[in-house]
Symmetry: C3
Subunit: 261 residues, 3 copies
């Protein structure tokens, strides 16, 4: 079953309103490049981010938070221990979590670690086409952190990965594809400048976690986040001259989207 969604769909707007009302506490263990931007994205949207990264604290905190994001963009041995602890704890506490397999398929260390984390049952897996292809065991591996494949080339891999892991899989790209292995949802829109501001992809994973943290089902959570991002990207493009003002306008758009004027 194929469905197209955009930000104006009643489900998206209703999920956004629910998420804002609940102000979910989102535990993020993400890469050092995008930590600040990710926090600002969640705050713009009305969620409550907390970046708790120590092995001594990550497990304890994952059980308290409403949802967890694990992003392996700047994985180290130390951070990997915190991630393992957090994912295990989230699992035990029944808390949903998102895996963002940045550059998996390019580098062995993180590819092995992300594959290991699949055993901890992520609720949503969000990546670009190269990452989803690599994680599904198909050919893959992008150029650094960027995809070398278009998102539609990873649809089959996404569906296979979703069935294997029982996770919802979201492939970000010019068109975003979201699937639980049965339903396939397409979200069009956005703007190419999103690929030229660091953290737009990584913070999309965090936003999916925020929707999960508000109790929204995985397929809807991933769809709502993607649809809102696509719209904010378009609004930011219209209000910007280059990548600097784009990033600012993107946060402004997330602040205001769906609110009464």
């Amino acid at each position: 079953m194929n469905i197209a969604r955009d930000w104006k769909h009643p489900e998206v707007l209703s999920d956004l309103a629910d998420m804002r009302q609940q102000v979910p506490l989102v535990h993020c263990i993400t890469n050092i490049v995008v930590t600040g931007f990710t926090a600002n994205v969640l705050l713009a949207l009305g969620a409550s981010p907390a970046m708790i990264i120590a092995e001594e604290e990550a497990g304890e905190f994952a059980a308290m938070a409403q949802a967890l994001l694990i992003n392996v963009g700047t994985l180290t041995q130390e951070v990997a221990r915190a991630m393992r602890s957090a994912a295990t704890s989230a699992g035990k506490a029944g808390k949903p979590w998102v895996l963002d397999p940045v550059a998996v398929g390019v580098l062995d260390f993180r590819t092995r670690f992300a594959t290991e984390l699949l055993g901890q049952h992520p609720t949503i897996i969000r990546g670009n086409a190269s990452e989803i292809l690599a994680l599904s065991g198909a050919a893959g591996g992008g150029k650094g952190v960027d995809s070398t494949a278009s998102s539609n080339s990873a649809i089959d891999a996404a569906q296979t990965l979703a069935r294997q892991t029982e996770a919802t899989v979201a492939v970000s790209g010019e068109i975003d594809y979201i699937t639980d292995g049965q339903t396939l949802i397409e979200v069009a829109g956005g703007d190419v400048l999103m690929t030229r501001v660091t953290g737009t992809g990584c913070s999309l994973g965090a936003t999916m976690a925020a929707f999960l943290g508000a109790g929204i089902a995985p397929l809807r959570a991933a769809t709502a986040a993607s649809a809102i991002y696509a719209r904010a990207g378009e609004q930011a493009r219209a209000a910007s001259q280059g990548t600097g003002s784009f990033a600012v306008a993107f946060l402004d758009a997330l602040t205001l989207i769906g609110l009464p004027r």
Copy 2:
């Protein structure tokens, strides 16, 4: 003795001019979410930030800098060693320092560490109400890094903590309260959007350190920083559409506040 202060008070303006003239070198060991924003706040105001975080260097550098900030937002064992070394060195060299106990009361590891650091005699302790309540030994513990208590509920705890530690204690919130255990200063103003940009609280602690580094007494240093922040928050709100443009306008306001037009 209760006093109200705002940015137009002659002491605040005079302390700001002194700080700018001296360009104090501020050693920051802060969390990875706000490192860049904190540096940009200090640079906007005219101070000189340096983020020196290695155990091998932190003690050496704390003795060179005019003031030190320790913020436990993303504490790890490795960073804790650097903080211990820096606080000890600052103490020996007679350099003032600020402790920001982010999320103390929520997580055991940092609560124990921040309590240990009290023994190193911070000059100023700055936190939200939940953090000050927790650090004073009263009930406490917020929601992640956010307070679940209003700032006026922590006035007694702040005064007790100030007397116990001989530090000046600053409680940030809708109204900021600053006390040395005797005098209580209120700073009103600011804007709720400050709670939706990551690092506004954390960089306030760094700003207090900058004022201390210019040789300004703790109660005045904490008051000047809070009053300037409140004003900059109001100016930023007037110049912004959402949280992205708010953060930009906030830095602009800090750049220009108190300067001749």
Copy 3:
């Protein structure tokens, strides 16, 4: 031989166009203060940044990328191991790399490490006057991360360092000086606000790496990057009210420089 260059010089514009067309993958191991800003600068200019910082991955990735940046601003033992591995791997694979010796001369640990890295033959060494003076063995050591010397006071040291190491040496300041030990190139322009936004210097080193990664010779790569920065700084000043809007306008200027309107 002394040469003056600015952004309108045909070599600069041609090198910029070449770099943009090739979208070089630039491996950055930089400090935690400027990681996000550095990525955004490279993306604004059209390069492809990747911050790979684990010892397990840095060597593997340095051989894949087109160029490498090593910036010691927040050096730790752990990061030093990754840097050693990356520099060695870049050397073996014949990939060019840039060394940014932040605060060398101020602190022993990083001074010894940066001196050790000289043995790995950096292609370009970029620093402020104090750093270049210190690295060349002349007197030196700034105030924290800022220079206490003007850039022209380090011209001799830069030329000596270039001859000793066979690297191109770039001294950033009110005027930038770039030398391979023979030719000396001056780049004027820029704006003093560049010293009040964190990461403008550090991301200049990354930009030099991007030009190297496009196959441009070291002297031209360092010159093109410096000339483009000077111009973007001037454009940003004209479009900004304070340091916040300056940083945004600087990224916008980098996005658009040299493109047809």
